[in-house]
């Protein structure tokens, strides 16, 4: 659409201007990592970390969400939960995290529409930031994406050392940026070329590759393959991989109440816990770690492609980064690809 530039020193002014009208989520430095938080001033933002610990899915699909309110007991009443209409801006979202939403859309906006996700999706502007320096376990290129991809965001920023290239990708992005015209100048041809250079360098920085050809079909024939036992033996079932995964969307629903009032809430859950599928009768369809590890991989690389025609993984590499026993999804999928049947 339109390409603009903003000087780096102007960036803070622009963002502070955005903060005045919108609820802005941006990476904020915690002890040794960053996390998406609501920011009230540009100075709170820290762009030095590549990926925040918890992916941006937590903004549209909150870890704890109130579904509705009720009066507890046997004479119960129900009260709807109002969904806030505020405008959201997710600032400095990486392309892998932005892709999350195109993977989660069929889930939350499918046969049954999740009103919470829908409202926030409609109300949010994604301002992306190209990765100049990918991490060890980044592998978005394996899905044909790029660390400077314009595909999933409304506006894409690219750090060109001294200034940022601002690419406007969608109509919504254009409408959004129109309010802030004064901060930008038009981008020159050189700017676009430097972006290409940045992108090329970043792509070269991605050293790990997941080979995906035919994996989905092959998984269909590998349900009982020993590879699942081998990997599950290591697994300690901590569930961190699912919490930091941008596409994991499983949740638990629970009633919380005092004596007088209460609410049904939903919280993120993890398929790596045995309680997740445990029936009240005592039967558990996924009793062993093997079943659970297999289900996680199958959900992303077999069930998602079958149901929604998209691989349920964005290549952010968080599950590899945070796994304490080195269960490496790239290795597993590559092994699947190489396995002889």
């Amino acid at each position: 659409m339109e390409n603009l530039v903003i000087q780096t020193e102007k960036l803070s002014e622009w963002v502070n201007e955005i903060i005045k009208k919108n609820k802005v989520f941006a990476p904020v430095k915690e002890t040794d990592f960053s996390n998406f938080k609501i920011v009230n001033d540009y100075s709170e933002i820290d762009l030095s970390f590549l990926l925040p610990m918890v992916p941006a899915k937590k903004i549209l699909f909150k870890q704890t969400e109130t579904l509705f309110l009720f009066t507890p007991g046997s004479k119960g009443e129900v009260k709807s939960k109002e969904i806030s209409d505020e405008k959201l801006v997710i600032f400095s979202i990486r392309s892998c995290d932005a892709k999350t939403f195109s993977i989660l859309d069929p889930v939350f906006l499918g046969d049954y529409v999740d009103p919470f996700y829908k409202k926030r999706r409609e109300n949010s502007i994604l301002i992306g930031l190209s990765c100049n320096k990918p991490n060890v376990n980044c592998f978005c290129t394996s899905f044909g994406d790029s660390p400077a991809s314009r595909d999933y965001v409304d506006i894409l920023l690219t750090d060109l050392d001294g200034k940022y290239l601002v690419e406007i990708v969608t109509e919504r992005g254009k409408k959004f940026i129109d309010d802030y015209k004064k901060f930008f100048a038009s981008a020159s041809k050189e700017d676009l070329e430097s972006k290409e250079k940045v992108e090329k360098l970043a792509i070269e920085g991605i050293t790990r590759k997941m080979k995906l050809e035919g994996v989905s079909e092959k998984l269909g024939k590998m349900f009982e393959h020993p590879i699942w036992y081998e990997n599950a033996m290591k697994c300690i079932g901590c569930g961190t991989c699912t919490f930091v995964c941008p596409t994991c969307h499983c949740f638990d629903m629970q009633d919380e109440s005092t004596l007088r009032e209460g609410a049904r809430i939903r919280v993120w859950d993890s398929c790596m816990y045995p309680e997740y599928t445990h029936h009240a009768s005592g039967h558990n369809p996924r009793p062993a770690r093997m079943n659970r590890v297999r289900n996680r991989i199958y959900h992303k690389f077999s069930y998602y492609p079958t149901n929604e025609n998209i691989v349920g993984c964005t290549g952010c590499g968080r599950c590899i980064d945070y796994c304490s026993v080195n269960i490496d999804i790239i290795d597993i999928i590559n092994e699947v690809g190489e396995a002889k049947l």
Binding site: S74, V78, D111, A280, H283
Partner: protein, 288 residues
């Protein structure tokens, strides 16, 4: 409460239940694994008018403050004013359900899932094979067929429970046995004084009954191990894969295919199930 009523999906918040009054509670079985049947009437008139289901479908019932669980509807869809569910006391929500009284309010949302193709089966002979609380979804089919008796062929009901005290819907079975257009074959697992009918497991009783597979549909529901053996025996009796149906259960939370836990392979039991033909089941790769 406002709920738009044109279709099941367009309701504003799919997690928010309607209120339903418990009009009648029938004690089916006592003891530690007690079973009660609840007659529920939706309070919202619009919701009540638009609540349409087909046997085999399920509803989510909540006790506010305790939790929510999925139950098969055990009444027939020919009955429009209320729905019935039969619940065995087992976990947190069902225990809470067993403590409520007539006139109390519960939350209800649904109907969810697919259904038995009762329309498509018209003209066929029907064999229902149930065990324990597994009779609940079958009761819905049974009553539907009884209400449209002339449209179907022969009707065999095979049912078994652990002891004679554990038999669900006992009075209804007694009534049923009096009819000449239904053959009822009851069984209990272990011998008991005063029991003159079959003693043994349901799959064995089925082999005694030997229903003909010709132009027939067999529907089974019960404990997983029973389903497994019933299907084996049905195949022995000449039923093919397309003639055998069962309904499955899984731990569920949302009921609408989002929360992710009830999948068998790529299918969600809540949305794509709970009714599966043996043909589908055989092709399914997943943890059950």
């Amino acid at each position: 409460m406002t709920k738009s009523s044109d279709s099941k999906i367009s309701i504003q918040n799919p997690y928010e239940p309607w209120l339903a009054e418990v009009e009648k509670i029938t004690k089916e079985v006592g003891g530690a694994r007690a079973i009660k049947t609840y007659k529920l009437v939706l309070q919202d008139e619009d919701a009540k008018k638009n609540f349409n289901f087909i046997p085999g479908q399920c509803v989510m019932i909540s006790i506010f403050g305790k939790g929510e669980s999925m139950f098969a509807i055990s009444s027939s869809s020919t009955q429009k004013d209320y729905i019935e569910v039969s619940v065995m006391k087992h976990g947190k929500t069902t225990t809470a359900l067993h403590e409520i009284e007539e006139g109390d309010i519960v939350g209800l949302r649904g109907p969810y899932g697919n259904n038995f193709d009762v329309k498509g089966w018209e003209g066929k002979n029907i064999v229902l094979i149930g065990g324990g609380i597994g009779q609940a979804p079958l009761r819905s089919v049974l009553n539907y067929i009884l209400d449209n008796r002339e449209k179907y062929g022969t009707l065999d009901v095979v049912y078994g429970a652990r002891t004679s005290k554990d038999i669900c819907f006992k009075e209804e079975f007694t009534e049923l046995e009096k009819r000449d257009d239904v053959s009822v074959h009851l069984s209990i697992d272990v011998e008991e004084e005063g029991w003159e009918k079959y003693v043994g497991f349901v799959p064995n009783n089925l082999m005694e009954v030997k229903p003909s597979s010709e132009n027939a549909i067999a529907i089974t529901c019960g404990p997983p191990i029973m389903i497994e053996y019933v299907i084996q025996n049905l195949l022995k009796l000449g039923f093919n894969e397309k003639q055998i149906f069962t309904t499955l259960e899984m731990r569920m939370k949302c009921g609408i295919g989002i929360c992710g836990r009830c999948n068998i392979g790529n299918l969600y039991v809540c949305k794509d199930g709970p009714v599966f033909s043996y043909e589908q089941l055989k092709g399914l790769q997943g943890d059950m």
